[in-house]
């Protein structure tokens, strides 16, 4: 059974932008996620953080990790913090194993992710 199609929509808050992710994150998510990031950061806002909301994500595979690595590299090049919340315990473990969590902070909820500046 094929997975759920990837979705990414951007919400802008005072202290940063949130990208609400949905469905499966694999290599096919790359283009849409990059577009969402550009949308979230397009209007300037200096180096306000971008927060990835994983709470509606069912599945992330290794090609999805690569997509996140690509995004993280771009954000770091821009000096912009990338944060995450809503990861299931399993994917949180994977973010730790892959050391992604060393470069993007993992939070329990959205206020916590936005509060940190």
């Amino acid at each position: 059974m094929p997975g759920t199609k990837f979705t990414a929509s951007v919400r802008k808050e005072a202290s940063g932008s949130i990208i609400d992710l949905g469905g499966d994150i694999d290599r096919s998510a790359g283009v849409d996620l990059a577009a969402a990031y550009d949308d979230a950061t397009g209007s300037g806002n200096g180096t306000d953080p971008v927060v990835l909301n994983f709470s509606q994500v069912d599945y992330i595979n290794s090609t999805g990790i690569a997509v996140i690595v690509t995004l993280l590299a771009k954000a770091r090049a821009e000096g912009r913090p990338l944060r995450a919340y809503g990861l299931s315990p399993h994917y949180e473990e994977i973010f730790q194993i892959t050391r992604l969590s060393d470069f993007m902070s993992i939070h329990h909820n959205e206020p916590e992710a936005l509060a940190l500046t």
């Binding site: 059974m1 094929p2 997975g3 499966d24 599945y59 595979n61 290794s62 090609t63 990790i65 690569a66 997509v67 690595v69 690509t70 993280l72 590299a73 770091r76 090049a77 299931s88 315990p89 399993h90 473990e93 994977i94 194993i97 892959t98 050391r99 992604l100 060393d102 470069f103």
Partner: protein, 521 residues
């Protein structure tokens, strides 16, 4: 002087004592000849001329010109005679001569007896060795031809038991892989024992193997086997044999029977017999075999047996019998190990000091009532629970992941460990699709789930030939700095997710085996 030997009942004809070369071998005195009793009764030297009885042995002795017979007696048995012809001096034997000869006989007799006994024992040891050797050959033939491994059918537990009698009967059983995942089941028994039975068993086995793969009708298989075996089998021998075709997916069993013991099915309602008429193989040509079918439902067991069970005798000479076996199969449906139950009952019935009269063979085929039950029945050795195949197209790694997860969840794995195994299965299947099979949908990825009481194994097989590379720890800093591509996480993740990952490349296949302990689930 001539030494005669007696035929002594205790000494086989070919084991005569060593006779000095200067001695005439005058032939034995049969123990039913009156002379035999006379010499035994007299105990000392006897002059031939004075013997008045009529005896064929005496006539012969007279013809040879023998004058004096000195019996050699040891422990009351006449074991030979010293026979003396006329003295060179032509004078009769004196009283002193007789005393001397009697004394000599008294000393010679025990020595000859000892020599006889040694010979006798040597001969018996040789005979025993010959028999043992023959038994070893028969046992070797049988062991070589019985299946080395039991078939692994998802959702089924197959067990077999074979214990040869000392004389090695001609029992055999076999599993023949057929098309569409079906399997041919054979149990048989050759009349007679030892090497002749083992050779007939070997012929029957290979005949059935070659015919079974060409015909779907078990009656036809037995009929053709019979035609082929009639000219091959010695006239006094025949083979009883049951042949069935099991469809593991549906539980359908189609069978025919050449005079073999009926299979019994242990079911929730008790026991049922699987009847089909037919004559044993190898007796006469032109036989027809009735075909019947049965359906094995979840949790049911079919038991195939050989004569060695029902024909076992108790100390009182009572037979184990079909009724007792059938009753045993019908009770305790909760107990899954039917073979152990039968063996236990057999041990109770037949005292351990009584030698096993015939081979004892059993094959029990149980349809598991659940995946969990299949796994627990496998004990420490993982057995196949489920098997899947997928075309190599993108997205099928998710199907594999979900389908394996369903099976593994049924085995009681859950939570974090289930999630980890799912990720590992998905990643491994994706590698198989993309790297092993290069995304060619015509190439299949095979996924087997195996389980034991302790472990769960998932084997994922593709048609790749290059070895799976070792997993490297990805350099995240280099990837973030753009010095390396962002990918390369798959193998690393798989290794981290499971307890053990093994890879093997052979015969045009890659296999990656993922192992998870079941402890903690």
């Amino acid at each position: 002087m001539a030494l005669r030997r007696m035929r002594n009942r205790a000494v086989p004809a070919e084991t005569v004592p060593v006779i000095p070369t200067e001695v005439i071998d005058g032939g034995a005195i049969p123990d039913n000849d009156p002379l035999f009793a006379l010499l035994l009764a007299t105990g000392g030297p006897v002059e031939v001329d004075r013997i008045t009885i009529t005896s064929p042995a005496l006539d012969e002795i007279r013809q040879q010109g023998i004058q004096l017979i000195v019996p050699l007696i040891s422990q009351g048995e006449l074991i030979g005679t010293l026979s003396l012809s006329r003295r060179l001096s032509e004078q009769p034997y004196s009283t002193d001569d007789r005393k001397l000869l009697a004394g000599l006989a008294g000393q010679v007799a025990p020595a000859i007896r000892v020599a006889q006994l040694v010979r006798q024992q040597e001969a018996q040891a040789k005979e025993r060795e010959r028999i043992e050797q023959e038994l070893r050959v028969a046992a070797l033939i049988q062991q070589t031809l019985l299946p080395k491994e039991l078939p692994q059918l998802p959702g089924w537990n197959i067990e077999a038991y074979y214990q040869s009698a000392r004389a090695v009967g001609g029992d055999f059983y076999d599993f023949i892989p057929l098309t569409e995942g079906r399997i041919g089941l054979v149990i048989g028994d050759v009349t007679d024992k030892g090497v002749p039975a083992a050779l007939v068993m070997a012929t029957t086995r290979s005949t059935l193997r070659s015919i079974a793969t060409q015909h779907d009708d078990p009656g036809k298989v037995l009929a053709l086997a019979n035609e082929s075996l009639v000219p091959e089998i010695p006239p006094a021998m025949f083979v009883t044999c049951l042949y069935g075709i099991l469809n593991p997916e549906t539980g359908d069993l189609v069978f025919a029977n050449a005079g073999h013991n009926l299979p019994y099915v242990r079911s929730a309602d008790g026991v049922r017999e699987l009847r089909a008429r037919g004559m044993p193989l190898g007796l006469m040509p032109g036989m027809v075999y009735e075909v019947n079918s049965a359906k094995l439902d979840l949790g049911e067991t079919v038991l195939l047996t050989s004569d060695g069970i029902v024909e076992a005798h108790s100390a009182d000479g009572e037979m184990f019998g079909f009724d007792r076996l059938m009753e045993l199969v019908g009770k305790d449906q909760e107990e899954e190990d039917l073979i152990s139950q039968v063996l236990e009952e057999l041990r109770r019935f037949r005292p351990s000091d009584l030698e096993q009269e015939d081979d004892v063979t059993m094959v029990a085929i149980r349809r598991a009532s659940s995946a969990l039950e299949s796994a627990s029945a496998f004990g420490d050795e993982p057995g196949l629970i489920s098997t899947f195949t997928y075309p190599s197209s993108s997205g099928n790694e998710r199907r594999a992941m979900d389908e394996v997860a369903d099976v593994v969840a049924g085995l009681g794995m859950n939570g974090d460990r289930l999630e980890r195994l799912k990720t590992a299965v998905s990643e491994t299947t994706m590698n198989a699709i993309e790297h092993g099979n290069h995304g060619d949908p015509a190439k299949l990825v095979g996924v087997d789930v195996l389980a034991s009481t302790k472990r769960i194994l998932v084997r994922i097989r593709d048609q790749g030939t290059a070895p799976v590379p070792a997993a490297l720890i990805p350099n995240l800093e280099a990837k973030l700095a753009g010095e390396q591509g962002p990918r390369g996480w798959g193998l690393f993740l798989i290794e981290k997710m499971v307890d053990v990952m093994r890879t093997a490349t052979n015969d045009g296949h890659h296999t990656v085996e993922l192992e998870m302990s079941r402890e903690g689930d």
